[in-house]
């Protein structure tokens, strides 16, 4: 019903647009005075009012009526079954609704049938009320704006104000969402730290990570929430990924932008971009099923013990995933270095390699640095590959051949594990918050760095 009404309001808005525009055009044609706004703005103004009044009343009346029905019925159920717990009241209500809608309910008795009848009756009234209020408001809005059309009516300014307000609302929604996410992270983090009596050093420098081992006694064990191995693992894998991705990506970008012929470029660039389109879960099982066993077997063949889930395998595959990221961003940056700089250098008798090393790369450096830092942020937050290929045990080591775990892997383990979500959320949110702060700091550092180079080079 809501959707039908929504469509109806849209139709009304379209009608209001046409009617108002035509009326404005007629006023204009009558020629008594010049119209302040073009007829289409008068139409727009009417349409906006129909939409705002109609949709606003639709939403408010639907929510209000539903709330009224629910609370009335809950009261009645509570009077009929005063000793049953709230959850049973809710069950009765949802069963009654199911009966009223002709769906399958969990049970059927006198009370449920009775409530279902009441619900059906109230629901009919609600529908009528919502329809009347919505259409009434929409028509009222349309008629009022239709009647206000006159040569001096500033429809353009008014509709622009409405549109500006709409844009503002969208911007505010985006900002509020971000703030909301950060706040929820902060609250859960504070709760978690409360549970371990604010022994922050235990979290940051502790080396044993097993946060849920104490929860059956109803408390967090501060000795077992040491996240150091997690961050060390994240760092190790990110480092390996960067060692793979930065040279390959950067040199590929240099080749593509300055050495490749047009034909090679037209094939190679889309190929690299295909690499960027592969879902990370595919990289994940590529790492776990192809790369990790290969590394293990190679290691055995030359007498080195390599764990079957190793930081090296995860890091290499993550590096491969990030190559197109770095190469495509760097390629753009290198291409945007003006040709006049290259000509200037070549004109002095520099070779192509000298030109690239001494002129093009320094000029492109801020962009390349920010590309690399963005790539690091991605590597730190990457989850699928490490979940499949890096391992689960919190193991503090700098040896890339051993299994390590990362922050993201542990968050996944906590949230998808068997422990109740509200208990597991504490450590998970805290890890998430720390990760968020780290990436934020790095992005800020990147921007600082880039700004400083910009000052020097532009």
């Amino acid at each position: 019903m809501v959707f039908t009404l929504f469509a109806l309001v849209l139709v009304l808005a379209a009608a209001a647009y046409l009617a108002s525009r035509n009326r404005a055009a007629r006023v204009d044609a009558a020629g008594d005075a010049a119209l302040h706004s073009r007829p289409s703005y008068h139409g727009l103004h009417s349409a906006l009012w129909v939409l705002m009044a109609g949709l606003g009343v639709l939403v408010i009346s639907t929510i209000g009526a539903t709330w009224f029905i629910t609370s009335t019925l809950m009261n009645e159920i509570a009077q009929a079954r005063p000793d049953a717990p709230l959850i049973e009241h809710q069950l009765i209500l949802s069963d009654a609704r199911a009966i009223a809608d002709g769906r399958i309910s969990s049970g059927s008795d006198m009370l449920r049938e009775q409530v279902a009848d009441r619900f059906a009756g109230l629901d009919r009234i609600r529908n009528v009320v919502v329809i009347v209020l919505t259409l009434g408001a929409a028509i009222l809005g349309g008629v009022l704006s239709y009647l206000s059309i006159s040569p001096e009516w500033r429809a353009r300014n008014r509709s622009e104000t409405v549109i500006r307000a709409g844009l503002l609302v969208m911007a505010v929604i985006a900002i509020l969402t971000t703030i909301g996410i950060v706040l929820s992270l902060i609250f859960e983090t504070v709760r978690f730290f409360n549970a371990i009596d604010w022994q922050l050093h235990k979290f940051i420098f502790g080396t044993t990570w097993s946060p849920l081992s104490g929860v059956f006694e109803g408390k967090m064990d501060a000795e077992k929430v040491g996240a150091l191995p997690l961050f060390a693992g994240t760092l190790l894998i990110t480092l390996i990924a960067m060692l793979v991705a930065v040279p390959v990506g950067l040199f590929a970008a240099i080749f593509l932008s300055d050495f490749a012929s047009k034909t090679v470029r037209s094939y190679a660039k889309p190929m690299l971009e295909i690499l960027a389109g592969i879902p990370t879960v595919v990289y994940g099982f590529f790492a776990a099923i192809t790369v990790a066993p290969f590394l293990r077997d190679t290691g055995e063949a030359i007498g080195i013990r390599v764990a079957s889930e190793s930081a090296l395998a995860a890091g290499i595959v993550m590096g491969i995933m990030i190559i197109p990221f770095i190469s495509s961003l760097s390629d753009d940056v290198i291409n945007s270095v003006p040709q006049s700089l290259r000509d200037g250098s070549l004109g002095l008798g520099a070779t192509k390699a000298e030109t690239i090393r001494q002129v093009v790369l320094p000029a492109a450096l801020p962009g390349i640095v920010s590309a690399v830092l963005l790539a690091i942020s991605r590597a730190i937050g990457e989850t699928m590959i490490v979940v499949m290929a890096a391992g689960q045990g919190a193991n503090l080591t700098a040896n890339p051949l051993e299994a390590v775990t990362t922050v993201t892997v542990q968050i996944v383990a906590l949230i998808t594990g068997d422990t109740e979500a509200s208990t597991a959320a504490g450590p998970a949110f805290t890890l998430g918050f720390t990760l968020f702060v780290l990436t934020l700091l790095m992005n800020m550092a990147a921007q600082r760095l880039v700004a400083r180079y910009r000052e020097r080079y532009d």
């Binding site: 004109g347 001494q358 002129v359 320094p362």
Partner: protein
């Protein structure tokens, strides 16, 4: 300058630096330069004039093989520097460009300090063995480009921070620092204001004592002021070449006359 009999007599005794015969340039299917024959003399300023798109810049870029950097460009014919064919397979364009320097239309200082901008060429070609020698080359080049007094206290600041005219003089200093034998200038003053233009023009006249200078210009006054020889290009052909005074006062070809008097262009 062109009207002083002294310099005209000088010109007559100079030896040939560049000699081009039957030069054709194609951009893809477009025939951009047709049958150009010209002899450019040493220690002389030669101006290329002509309407936009007539091929004067294209021909200039043939002289240091800058057209090699454009994929679709093809050069035919015979261009000799001191009697050596510069399009010969054995000639390395990189070494050629060290001998034939170039200054571009828009000032294009590298994103480096003023010092590093000037030291760039000498470092690449190994012209200085010690830091002291390099310092000397930088100072000499900046003095030649009449930029030393303005830049000597800020050698470590970015070259991009200079004004437009200073930037162009920096680019000239950068070009002369590699001790080229010929200096090509592609409309070096088109992005400059009149004061900076007159500074660069004075500079070009000074440079003549050491280098052979070829300048492409849109301004006929500039060509008349700075050059001893002038070549007029029209629709890809070199219509007329001769003493600057002669071209401007008594051209042989009626197209030259039309251009100089402003009827075509």
């Amino acid at each position: 300058m062109y009207d002083t009999p002294n310099s005209e007599r000088d010109v007559d005794q100079k030896e040939i630096k560049f000699s081009a015969r039957d030069v054709q340039v194609f951009y893809g299917d477009t025939h951009a330069i047709k049958d150009v024959d010209v002899d450019l003399e040493d220690k002389t300023v030669t101006a290329f004039i002509g309407p936009s798109g007539c091929g004067k810049s294209t021909f200039l870029r043939c002289l240091n093989r800058m057209n090699d950097t454009i994929d679709v460009c093809r050069v035919e014919g015979d261009i000799r520097l001191d009697g050596e064919d510069i399009y010969d397979k054995r000639v390395d364009p990189v070494q050629l460009r060290a001998k034939v320097g170039m200054v571009f239309q828009k000032p294009n200082p590298f994103p480096k300090s003023i010092y590093d901008n000037v030291a760039y060429g000498p470092k690449i070609h190994g012209l200085a063995r010690t830091k002291g020698e390099l310092d000397e080359i930088v100072e000499k080049s900046l003095r030649r480009a009449a930029l030393w007094d303005e830049a000597k206290d800020r050698l470590e600041t970015p070259g991009t921070g200079l004004s437009g005219g200073q930037q162009q003089r920096l680019c000239i200093a950068r070009a002369v620092a590699t001790e080229p034998e010929v200096l090509l200038m592609d409309e070096p003053c088109s992005a400059l204001d009149p004061i900076a233009t007159s500074q660069v023009e004075e500079l070009i006249d000074d440079l003549r004592s050491n280098f052979s200078v070829v300048i492409v210009t849109h301004s006929m006054q500039q060509a008349a002021r700075v050059s001893q020889k002038t070549a007029f290009f029209h629709l890809g052909s070199m219509v007329e070449f001769g003493e600057t005074g002669h071209i401007f006062t008594n051209p042989n070809d009626e197209r030259t006359e039309s251009y100089i008097t402003g009827r075509i262009g």
